[in-house]
């Protein structure tokens, strides 16, 4: 069946009925279409396992991070709601009754993440406050009528799941006419109807509310039209006593927008309270902390990849979701393209898998650059054994993987420790966030960098209490790990702390004794001057060190030694390829593509795609044998906004005939006669015309 027609643009293809039910399992695509399909099934399973873990971890994280916000929101809702019910006659309450309680939720510019937040918010509200939670988006409500329609239909859907199905049919019929009056009467009927049912259903959470409030979430306040908002607020404030409404505004920019959208007369009908959601950068830090800076997941990112992901985050969208998407893609790419990624799982499982490695896989391992480097360092007999004996190799792999695991545990501990030290330095020579520090450490030997040197210098100037708080934090870091390797480090730090403490006391004594010895003598002016000069001299020469300074020096040296020992870049570790995903360019090509550049290159430098020697050219010009479209494009660049087609075609013909001429040597003369110049030119040019009829592709005039 053809997919082109002059009468329609959509073509549906349904395979035979029998065939249809057999859907190819996803993992089949994982191993098809490539040469290296070692352990692909296992790899795919591992991928799915890790991805599921990561996903649930991030979801959990999000939930935790939102908890605070949601709790305070719920509290606010409950409070404001209780206002509806006090039913007191005092004047203040009645005034308040005219005001719609409103929560302004400031969510930040990462619009893409909002959906997730709202979804969990809705859930939380439905569980804790009221079943009637409706969220609306600006694009659904261009005017009041749609607004109300949407509101009514969604509201009624809210309770459909609780009530019988026949009701839902009524609901759809009702949809046609909606007003605030009908809404409030509906509300009355619903709340009264559910009341007798309540004891049977045991809805303890909402039974305390005789009539639960209706929460309306406006997801993107900024894009609502002013008029709709104003009208709605004015109308609903009139109905507030019979229709208890609570608004939640989702705001991406700043709370000022409320006042910009609503005039004072309207905004005075609202009782607004501000809530600030978690900043997305903190969110990123925690996500990184939980997903990458941990030994829980064996999968790691190389420096370049991490840079790309964080840069997309920081410069493009501030979206955690996109970041996680990037993470997923790199995970997938890693397992897809690296046959040895089968070992990228937790240690015990990996050890088991090593035993089942095929011969090909062993060969793959031997081919790894990091492993080769490792082999070269060994003694010659061992080298031979590693390269020939499979069993020996597998044992070696086991121990190497173990080493890698230990390396990671230590790495992250020391990294965190170093971060404690450097994150409070002035000007942050090694970055404020741990991810910056991590990137630098991944990239190279950090102690070779200038920043590190300056950081150490600054550390040598720290005051004692600062140093002590940092040390305490480090101590906690080390304490928290169950690993034994760095237990001694924790002990060292503890010792340092104790020494600092003792220093305190010792110093006081020293100070007092010094004062006593000098202070008591009576001298005249001349002697005083002299002795002061002496003291000054003395201090300069014996600048040597106080005990505190010596100790501080010791601590800094200690940290330095830790860094040098444990923060080696992963490239130095044998078998790091198993765990680290480093194909940054593919990631960039798929996530942060540049279609404009691709077009530009294709048009200006066809050699980049068509590797034909004839197309090689110096910069700025194009060989006349290049594809038609390149030539036509080049020519059209020389025109201003309007192009004379005749000129263009003539110019094009000039170029193409010249190319033809040169080809004359290669094409036989008969053939050349065949191609009668005149129609051929036209023909060629029509080809271009066809391209250009589809003009937007190449015309930059839209910019």
């Amino acid at each position: 069946m053809a997919t082109s027609s002059v009468s329609k643009g959509c073509f549906v293809f349904k395979p035979n009925f029998k065939k249809r039910k057999i859907s190819v399992p996803v993992e089949d695509y994982f191993n098809k279409g490539k040469n290296e399909s070692e352990d692909s099934k296992l790899r795919f399973e591992t991928y799915q396992l890790i991805w599921q873990q990561m996903k649930s971890e991030t979801e959990q994280l999000q939930e935790e991070l939102n908890k605070n916000l949601f709790n305070s929101l719920i509290e606010f809702l409950q409070q404001s709601y209780s206002g509806f019910h006090k039913n007191s006659r005092d004047w203040g309450c009645q005034i308040k009754l005219r005001e719609i309680p409103t929560a302004a939720l400031i969510l930040g510019v990462n619009v893409t993440d909002h959906d997730l937040t709202f979804r969990s918010l809705t859930e939380a509200l439905q569980n804790n406050v009221t079943p009637y939670v409706v969220s609306l988006q600006a694009k659904d409500c261009p005017d009041m009528k749609h607004f109300l329609q949407k509101l009514v239909s969604k509201l009624m859907n809210c309770c459909v799941d609780e009530e019988s199905k026949e009701e839902s049919i009524q609901v759809t019929q009702k949809k046609t006419f909606c007003s605030m009056d009908s809404l409030s009467s509906w509300y009355m009927s619903v709340t009264q109807k559910t009341d007798p049912k309540l004891p049977r259903k045991k809805r303890t959470s909402s039974s305390q509310w005789q009539s639960p409030p209706v929460v309306l979430i406006l997801k993107d306040l900024e894009s609502f039209t002013t008029k709709v908002l104003q009208d709605f607020i004015i109308i609903s404030s009139q109905h507030l006593h019979e229709f208890p409404l609570i608004l939640i505004f989702g705001i991406a920019t700043s709370p000022i927008i409320i006042h910009r959208l609503l005039p004072h007369a309207v905004s005075s009908l609202l009782c607004i309270e501000l809530f600030q959601s978690l900043s997305c950068k903190e969110h990123l830090t925690t996500v990184l902390d939980k997903l990458l800076l941990t030994t829980q997941f064996p999968f790691k990112l190389s420096e370049k990849v991490l840079q790309i992901l964080t840069n997309i985050f920081l410069y493009h969208d501030f979206s955690i979701q996109n970041f996680i998407k990037g993470l997923q893609l790199s995970l997938l790419e890693h397992f897809y393209s690296q046959p040895l990624s089968v070992l990228c799982c937790n240690l015990s499982e990996a050890k088991r898998r090593i035993n089942f490695l095929s011969e090909n896989q062993c060969e793959n391992i031997r081919r790894l650059p990091s492993f080769r480097r490792h082999v070269e360092k060994q003694a010659s007999e061992k080298q031979v054994a590693l390269l020939t004996n499979e069993r020996f190799l597998k044992e070696e792999i086991q121990s190497l993987l173990e080493n890698l695991h230990v390396y990671h545990t230590n790495y992250f501990l020391v990294l965190r420790c170093l971060h404690q030290f450097t994150s409070s330095l002035p000007k942050y020579p090694l970055g404020r966030q741990i991810r910056e520090l991590y990137c630098t450490c991944l990239e190279k030997n950090i102690w070779d960098s200038e920043e590190y040197a300056s950081a150490l210098q600054l550390l040598r100037m720290l005051a004692k209490d600062e140093l002590m708080t940092i040390l305490q934090k480090c101590f906690k870091v080390f304490k928290s790990s169950s690993e034994k390797q760095l237990g001694s480090t924790a002990k060292r730090i503890e010792e340092f702390l104790a020494q600092f403490q003792s220093l305190d006391e010792a110093k006081e004594e020293e100070d007092t004794s010094g004062l006593q010895s000098k202070g008591l003598q009576k001298t005249d002016l001349y002697h005083l001057q002299k002795s002061l000069l002496e003291m000054k001299e003395l201090r300069r020469t014996s600048k040597k060190q106080t005990r505190f300074e010596a100790l501080r020096e010791k601590v800094v040296n200690f940290i330095d030694s830790l860094v040098r020992e444990y923060l080696l870049p992963p490239e130095t570790q044998p078998l790091h390829e198993v765990m680290y995903f480093s194909a940054a360019h593919t990631l960039r090509a798929h996530l942060n593509a540049a279609p404009r550049i691709a077009l530009h290159t294709a048009l200006n430098n066809p050699y980049y795609y068509l590797k034909n020697e004839a197309l090689k050219s110096e910069e700025g010009c194009i060989p006349n044998v290049a594809p038609d479209i390149c030539i036509a494009y080049k020519l059209h660049l020389e025109c201003s906004r309007l192009i004379n087609l005749v000129d263009w075609s003539e110019a094009f013909a000039t170029v193409v005939t010249a190319a033809e001429k040169m080809d004359a040597n290669s094409i036989t003369s008969e053939e050349r006669n065949e191609i009668i110049q005149y129609p051929f030119l036209k023909n060629q040019f029509y080809n271009v015309q066809v391209y250009m009829a589809y003009k937007p592709i190449v015309s930059p005039d839209l910019f």
Binding site: S649, A658, Y686, S699
Partner: protein, 578 residues
């Protein structure tokens, strides 16, 4: 070349705050034109810095320092790489150039230059191209092909006397400028100036200007170069401003006044054109095939990624339709899929949704609105997780689908777990269709598939100026109809043609009034009463040869709805025959 690149990179990395004045100077320095944007790259970084600057000041404490060069290093790297490989470009910002005013003649000049760019060590540098450029228009005005060949032979004999101007330029320029940058701007401005001078001389006689010998141009260039560069810079300030408004104004843009009619070529119809095109094999077919094979290897990966929740978008030069067709036939045979031709002029989101509800889901009902329909589909797919649907959209960025609402709806479809979308885009600015929200709905993975294949199918709905339109009345059918008429009727028609041609320069011409026409016909002894004339006119009208229109005064006016070029041709032909 290499050293230049290094130079550029160094500059790129060095990011510093630059004041507005400096930036202005910078722009003025480089004003050379679209050809040379080498420095703009640096500029880009600078402006970004400027924008970022306040942020530092405000939030220095709780805002980490965003390193701009970091961005360029990491995310911009790809661009740099591809441009480095694509040696054609001077810098990343050539891609983002403004269009500036150029002279139409330059195209011809460039063409001639391109025509003679030697292929790999070809020492036989054939001909004197400026001459050819002049000759071709001439021969298009009626000279036969053999004539042209002859002229070319002449050129060859003249070859020795005039060296190709392009090469000469290349020789001249480095001599006077040591610095590579200034070399470029100089050579550039020199060009502009040279052309501009000529331009002023003969704006109105473009055809004439082509006859100006190329020597003239070569000579004029050094003269310009001789003027002190500082003074030139001054001039440029105002020039730049003017140029900007020139480029953005709605004022007339001058092109040459040669028209397609003057080419005297019979227009081909669609069918012959297609036949002709099918005979031409594209050049570099081996390389193209290799490219395509490369892409075909990705099919399984695409399937995998589609199934894992990503959607795929293809971009790059050339039609991607064939590629997607192959994808469809190789891997999608056993699954339900919908192919959507975005380039189809009558496509709409409604029709897409209809084909999903009616043909895929076998639903025989109507929906109140598109949104209702969407909701219904979404629910259906959410309920039944075994339901799977692949959507293939050729040209998601087409005129009909690029609207915000359409994109929103398609995005919502694409965000469903069991709907898989693979689409292609062609428009330069297609990514601008999607804001962040839509992008997250689509969850794109980008794949570059440059195919260089012609957009034959995509453009088949478009009309080319050079192809005969079936809707209008072309020459052949005109003669055909008139042959079947009586000589008197033909005479009447000829009268009308002549009158129309006489008035072709009159913009307010609305046609010949019936009374005048009758008078003229009587004088030529073509009709004897106005009834006979009316009878004739009815016949013309039936053949759609004339159109009548009531003027403001209630008089009937007659008009031939055929363009004047065709009419002239027709008259000439008639005269030949008689």
């Amino acid at each position: 070349m290499m050293s230049k690149l290094e130079l550029k990179e160094d500059k790129m990395l060095e990011v510093q705050f630059v004041g507005d004045d400096d930036v202005l100077n910078h722009i003025l320095d480089r004003e050379g034109g679209a050809k040379l944007k080498k420095e703009r790259a640096q500029l880009l970084v600078n402006t970004k810095k400027i924008i970022k600057k306040p942020e530092y000041d405000l939030e220095e404490d709780d805002q980490e320092v965003l390193k701009d060069q970091n961005y360029v290093e990491v995310l911009g790297q790809d661009i740099q790489e591809s441009l480095k490989n694509g040696s054609a470009a001077d810098g990343g910002n050539k891609v983002y150039s403004f269009q500036n005013r150029k002279h139409s003649e330059k195209m011809a000049k460039l063409a001639s230059e391109l025509a003679k760019t030697p292929r790999k060590n070809v020492s036989v540098n054939l001909k004197n191209d400026p001459e050819i450029m002049i000759n071709i228009p001439q021969c298009s005005k009626g000279h036969s092909a053999s004539d042209k060949v002859q002229v070319k032979n002449n050129d060859k004999s003249e070859f020795l006397s005039t060296a190709p101007s392009g090469i000469r330029k290349r020789l001249i320029v480095p001599r006077s400028h040591s610095d590579s940058e200034s070399e470029y701007s100089a050579s550039n401005s020199e060009d502009d100036e040279g052309v501009a001078q000529e331009y002023e001389e003969d704006t109105n006689e473009v055809i004439l200007s082509q006859k100006i010998p190329s020597q003239n141009r070569v000579v004029s260039a050094p003269v310009c170069k001789g003027t002190p560069s500082k003074k030139m810079k001054r001039d440029k300030t105002s020039d730049l401003v003017e140029e900007y408004f020139e480029a953005h104004s709605s004022s007339k843009v001058l092109t040459s006044d040669r028209t397609l009619q003057k080419l005297k070529r019979a227009k081909l119809d669609q069918q012959t054109l297609r036949n002709l095109l099918s005979k031409v094999s594209p050049s570099f077919s081996a390389e193209l095939k290799q490219l395509n094979q490369q892409y075909e290897q990705l099919f399984h990966k695409w399937m995998l990624q589609l199934r894992l929740g990503f959607n795929i978008v293809l971009f790059g030069l050339g039609s991607k339709r064939d590629l997607l067709e192959r994808f469809r036939t190789t891997v999608l045979q056993d699954s339900i899929h919908v192919v959507i031709n975005g380039f189809f002029p009558g496509i709409s989101v409604k029709s897409i949704l209809n084909s999903i509800t009616e043909e895929v889901l076998d639903h025989m009902g109507t929906f109140r609105s598109v949104l209702d329909q969407l909701d219904w589909i979404v629910n259906k797919f959410k309920e039944d997780s075994s339901l799977e649907l692949f959507l293939l959209i050729h040209n998601l960025d087409s005129q009909m689908l690029r609207g915000d609402k359409s994109q929103q709806i398609i995005g919502q479809l694409a965000s469903l777990r069991n709907i898989y979308l693979i689409a292609s885009i062609d428009h330069l600015n297609a990514p601008l269709m999607w804001d962040h929200a839509k992008q997250s709905l689509y969850n794109w993975l980008w794949y570059e598939t440059t195919t260089y294949s012609p957009y034959t199918e995509e453009t088949s709905y478009e009309n080319s100026l050079l192809v005969k339109q079936s809707g209008s009345l072309p020459l052949s059918s005109l003669t055909h109809v008139l042959r079947s008429l009586t000589p008197n009727a033909r005479g009447i028609f000829r009268l009308l043609i002549k009158y129309q041609l006489d008035n072709q320069d009159n913009p307010s011409y609305i046609g010949l009034s019936f009374q005048d026409f009758y008078q003229q016909c009587r004088e030529a002894f073509l009709v004897n009463s106005d009834l006979t004339l009316r009878a004739q006119l009815t016949e013309f009208r039936d053949h759609k040869l004339i159109r009548t229109k009531k003027g403001t005064d209630g008089v009937e006016y007659l008009l031939i709805p055929v363009d004047n070029g065709t009419l002239t041709d027709f008259l000439e032909k008639e005269e030949e025959e008689s």
